[in-house]
Structures are given as structure tokens and as C-alpha cells.
Amino acid sequence: MRQPPVDYIERTREQYASLGYPPYQWVRNQEPSTLVIPTKPMHEWRVGLIASGGIYVAGQIAFHFRDDISYREIAFETPTDRIRTTHFAYDLTDSRRDPNVVFPLDTLRGLVRDGTVGELPTHAYTFMGGIYSARKVRDVLAPALVTRLLQDEVDVALMVPV
């Protein structure tokens, strides 16, 4: 049977209540983000990538699960079989079989190869989602990632949440 999308906000509320916790404080952004219209055509874009699915490369220190606001640089040329995923809030079965489900590395490399987009910067950036402190994300992590994307001179960036 067809069902509407999962109402995660409502279910989180119910889950917290059933476990005896006070309600989860969802972030509400009052202002819409600024719209920047790319000036170049898509086939000339340099496309940045940020993903929050707890992705790291074998050889890097993995994320931890308690408000980890660090991030990882991952070279776009990294072989896919070196990509790892770690997270407390989603089923990792598929991301460990095929990291592209949360970190579209092969997908983007394919789009460069067939000319859909222009190129990729040297690195993608990954972090751990599920950070309780919205302030740390807003004031520390997000500005640090924006700085990196600006240094990389990307035309657009994809953010892949989980």
C-alpha cells in the first residue's frame, strides 16, 4: 500500500516521549538560504561534495558518535573500496556494500567522464551527522566547510545528508 513519506519529526517526538525524555528540539531556520544562480553552464561546473553519513577512508581516524564536529578530507580519486561508513542512526548494510548510496563518488566521476559536469575539486568533505548542538554546526563546522569550498573554487556543491 502506498504511504506518505515517513514523518521523522513526529516519530522522533513519539520515540523520545516513550523513552521518558523531554521533546527533541528541532532546529527552525527562519530565513531561507540565499539563492545563488550559477553563471556557467552545467558542463563547465566544478562540483564540490559534502556528505554527513560518517564517511572516512581506510587510514583515517573514524568518527565517533558523540557530537563529533570534526571533518575529513577525502580525495576524489580515492578507490571506492577504501571508503568506509560509520554512523549510529542509519542501517549501514548498503553503504558498506556500495558507499555511493551516501557518498556519490563514482556517480560524480561518471558525470565528469561523460561531460555532464566539468570537473571535480581535489577533495570532498565528510562529517558525522547527528550532532546535537545546532550551534556548533552553525558557528563552527558549517563555516569551516564553506571556507574549504570557496578555496576549492567550486561553482556548485552537493550536500548529501543522511
Binding site: 500500500m1 502506498r2 504511504q3 513519506p5 515517513v6 521523522y8 516519530r11 513519539e14 520515540q15 523513552l19 531561507p32 538560504s33 540565499t34 539563492l35 544562480i37 550559477p38 561546473w45 562540483v47 553519513g53 560518517g54 577512508v57 581506510a58 587510514g59 583515517q60 581516524i61 573514524a62 568518527f63 565517533h64 558518535f65 558523540r66 564536529i69 570534526s70 571533518y71 575529513r72 578530507e73 568506509r84 560509520t86 549510529f88 542509519y90 542501517d91 548494510t93 548498503d94 553503504s95 558498506r96 556494500r97 555511493n100 548510496v101 551516501v102 557518498f103 556519490p104 563514482d106 556517480t107 558525470l111 555532464t116 559536469v117 556548533k136 563552527v140 569551516a144 556548485v156 548529501v160
Partner: protein, 105 residues
């Protein structure tokens, strides 16, 4: 924003399905190309399965009858130490990981 009605952990498409993955990323790029409103959303048509029964169990706490009707907390514990996918990964780390960026809180 591109919305894909899949279980968590499949934001960028279905595993080992290049067509599905490509469709998600291309939809996001097209939206960036065509948006004229901040916060524009595209809803993708891909369906996870023929029926949506997978949605029934998402974040539904299970009643624990043995514990007198309380609910089980089935969430993963928030460990404060690195959580490696493979236990061997910990031994592969050299030095203080130059590509790991620690931020001052």
C-alpha cells in the same frame, strides 16, 4: 533540495544501481541549474519497493512486555571513541591523520 522517499542511508540512490544513483545526482544538479526560488524542492519518482511497508517500523519503539510495558531503547549507544567499520582500520592510521580536521568548539 531533492527528496527521495527511500529508507535512511540511501540518500544518493540504490546500492549497485548506477542508473538510480545517477538520476538522484543529476536531479540535484538540474535543480541548482534551474532554481529561481531559494529552498526549491524536487521530489523524485523512484520507489523503494512495490509497497511502502518498510515505513511501518521506522523509529517505532518496541513495547517490552517483560519489563512491565516499558519501551526498548533500540538506538545505538553514542560512543565517544572512533567507531571503525573494520577493526583493521584502526591499525592503518598513521600519525595524527593529516586529512582529519579537528575544529575548536
Amino acid at each position: 533540495m531533492v527528496y527521495l522517499d527511500f529508507p535512511l542511508g540511501h540518500t544518493a540512490g540504490r546500492a549497485h544501481d548506477v542508473q538510480s544513483q545517477r538520476a538522484v545526482v543529476v536531479a540535484a544538479l538540474r535543480l541548482l541549474e534551474e532554481s529561481r526560488q531559494p529552498g526549491s524542492t524536487t521530489k523524485l519518482r523512484q520507489r523503494w519497493s512495490e509497497d511502502d511497508a518498510w515505513k511501518d517500523g521506522v523509529m517505532r519503539p518496541k513495547l517490552n512486555v517483560d519489563r512491565g510495558g516499558g519501551f526498548d531503547d533500540d538506538r545505538v549507544e553514542r560512543f565517544a571513541t572512533p567507531q571503525y567499520q573494520e577493526s583493521e582500520d584502526a591499525a592503518l592510521v598513521t600519525g595524527n591523520c593529516p586529512t582529519c580536521v579537528w575544529l575548536e568548539e
